[in-house]
Symmetry: C2
Subunit: 442 residues, 2 copies
């Protein structure tokens, strides 16, 4: 089954209520004031990377496109807004006809980003753009956080397999999005069946300690598993005594045993012992999977251990210390009046402190050095300088309300691998540091 | 509108795929081995609280009941499992008829918990219970993490209002569950319309900086907002100059202005200045809402500031440093055979280290001191001692597959407030420490 067939479009319910109430009250006030139809430009960007991180990963764009397409106010939603008196009748009438008819440009999903990168640019009337703020930020902030953690883990894992198995550690639907983002970031598979169903991500899984405990002996459990799932299965060997379990596993399944899984203890030490034991038992091709509270640092520290694959749960779905990004969605330009030909005026919040931003519709390009390695994220307003024209980062995603930027998840995953490979080598160092390339404003 | 009317049951799709693949492969192997029907007891509990936390908050139980009720394998799901060859035909046939017919007992939602507390106990055949592991843990681990953060924040806020506004910082559906958990933990309202729609939580919201920037002047923006939303609205006063904005806000809305919102700067200092200015302008009843990157520590530090309500986003929905709990779902007892009258045998993983657990079906009670304050969480197997019989913590939630423990969210919210009030006073200290009462095993 191909991810392109299954991935998109998926069954997304109306996304119109994934919205902060103030988006609707602003709409109501702007409709009354005659300013709602002013042509506007909103941009999603982050002012900083999470502390210590060297790059960010754009993820969730495909889900944003689904959300925009499904952002409709049906009767049940309108009734709710009316009963609660959240907005007035003219606003309800306006919402009943709502669909986004504007344009969206953005970094393609899987691309890396830096402070200030205009990851998404949404253009249309103020009214139609402002409504999308909450759901766009929900998706980008969550999915990009998970993808960034996944990318670090996949850099640390090198060519070894990475299994996403964090569903039980996060909200049941956040888990599905997390599997998707992990796949973008370089994971190979997931334990989450819903992620397999919705996005075509390869799913894996064999057994837990409960299965061993259900049976009268470990031998009974291993025999039951091998008889049902075949010799290529993965047997969990740390319910009682690991050495005895490994011996038993090979006795029951033979040297064709697919893998053993270790879920506790000093993984470095245990992996070495188990590898030696497996080799001595003639099971040289039986793989070792480890799965206990791993993060990118633990994965890196196991680089010298005879481990074939890592299963990662908690630290993946919680963004390895950074469960959200700090992306914001800001009005950066708007027309002088509701006239369709009125010129755009750059706007920006001007209060003191860290929350100020730069007005005007932005372009972004990545400047490369002579070896083709990224050396700066260049952001500007107005004309793109000629020497950067072919390295622009934004692509068209929605045109006049129609989604034009949908793509298979494997394309996104490959893009991320390529984008990360195009950064200076220090990008994948796990030590804390600044963004690996500077952001320059032209 | 009453939360009891809206809250439950809600429109939950089939939850059967919010499941790790190994639950299904274990099922297949157990069906073939003839062990699938062994009567079993699974328990959800946590071995430890997040570092430094004094108590945990049970949240998500109501959502678990929805998930269990909707855990069915329809044709689309079965086709997916067949196409991917995840399980064999006899297993697919078994799944087609699946509904949970067992019993669930647990701590009532809103109750506090400690290390080892048997928060949920699921009893039935191994087959029917093991399938529920992933979705039960997803819900409890997510929702309880958010509720714990919310509870700390609400203790710090005292009688002041708390608004949940973190939707944009987490997955769009996790945000809805987070609003619900925040309400359980003591928040008063949410910005998230979907949380209002699904759970009847009061929603609030007026305007963002974009609304001010849309207009030709701050005066135009304030005038537009007041004309549409009334003088009782909340005006955002930090787009340009706070002092000028406050002056203008009272000029436009009059002293009946509902509130001003401050979203940046040194909130302590700015709140004092704004309060003084409002009082001097005769707007003594105009409230002050602050909303910039708050957590429980920031809320506590503003206790002496003239603030009326706090809006909390990122730190709420990310669990204020602990975005997930470490609840596990373990087989603790199972029958000797598939015979319905076969006696139960306690079982437990016996490997070394932190992952061992205690076998046997557990009861739990809270022992109080002479003043009625909690002094220990008492957990045991077998008979409940007479002096603890009236303080047992587990209630019946599902009986023979039928949900019997559903309750309105306001009841849950009140229960949490009472449970927290029954703990030693040091429970709500924000300083890091151990669990505020010990867990004793009888």
């Amino acid at each position: 089954m191909n991810t392109a067939d299954l991935g998109l479009p998926v069954d997304v319910p109306s996304t119109a209520l994934f919205t902060d109430q103030y988006e609707l009250t602003m709409l109501q006030a702007a409709l009354k004031a005659g300013t709602a139809e002013r042509r506007s430009v909103f941009e999603a960007f982050t002012r900083r990377l999470p502390e210590g991180r060297r790059y960010g990963v754009v993820a969730g764009t495909g889900r944003v496109l689904d959300a925009v397409e499904n952002f409709r106010f049906d009767a049940a939603v309108l009734d709710f807004l009316r009963e609660r008196a959240i907005v007035d009748e003219p606003t309800l009438e306006w919402l009943a006809d709502y669909r986004f008819r504007g344009d969206i440009w953005g970094y393609p999903e899987g691309e890396v980003y830096f402070p200030g990168s205009p990851i998404l640019r949404v253009e249309g009337s103020f009214a139609e753009c402002v409504l999308l703020e909450t759901v766009i930020l929900s998706i980008l902030n969550h999915d990009s956080a998970i993808a960034a953690a996944a990318s670090r883990m996949s850099a640390a894992a090198g060519s070894r397999g990475l299994i996403e198995m964090g569903a039980r550690r996060t909200h049941e639907l956040a888990a599905v999005a997390a599997s998707r983002a992990a796949y973008v970031g370089g994971f190979n598979s997931t334990s989450d069946l819903a992620a397999g169903f919705r996005y075509g991500i390869p799913t894996v899984g064999t057994s837990a300690h409960a299965f061993t405990l259900l049976h009268d002996s470990e031998r009974d459990a291993f025999t039951a598993q091998v008889e049902s799932l075949g010799r290529g299965t993965t047997l969990l060997v740390d319910t009682y005594d690991v050495t005895e379990a490994v011996r038993l596993a090979v006795e029951v399944a033979g040297p064709e045993l697919g893998a053993v899984r270790i879920d506790s203890g000093d993984l470095l030490l245990v992996a070495h012992r188990v590898r030696q034991q497996l080799d001595e038992l003639g099971a040289a091709r039986t793989k070792i999977v480890v799965t206990s509270d791993l993060d990118e640092y633990a994965i890196a520290s196991l680089a010298a251990a005879p481990v074939d694959a890592y299963g990662v749960g908690t630290q993946l779905v919680t963004g390895s210390g950074h469960p959200t990004c700090s992306m914001v969605y800001k009005l950066v330009a708007r027309a002088e009046s509701a006239d369709v030909n009125a010129p755009l005026v750059p706007v920006a919040k001007k209060s003191l402190g860290a929350k100020s931003s730069i007005g005007g519709r932005k372009w972004a390009a990545r400047r490369l050095d002579r070896d083709g390695v990224a050396e700066a994220e260049v952001i500007g307003t107005g004309e793109v300088p000629g020497e950067l024209a072919d390295r622009q980062l934004q692509v068209e995603l929605v045109k006049g309300g129609e989604v034009v930027g949908r793509e298979p998840l494997d394309v996104v995953r490959d893009r991320h691998a390529a984008a990360r490979a195009g950064l200076p080598l220090s990008a994948t160092q796990l030590s804390r540091g600044e963004a690996v390339i500077p952001t320059e404003y032209l």
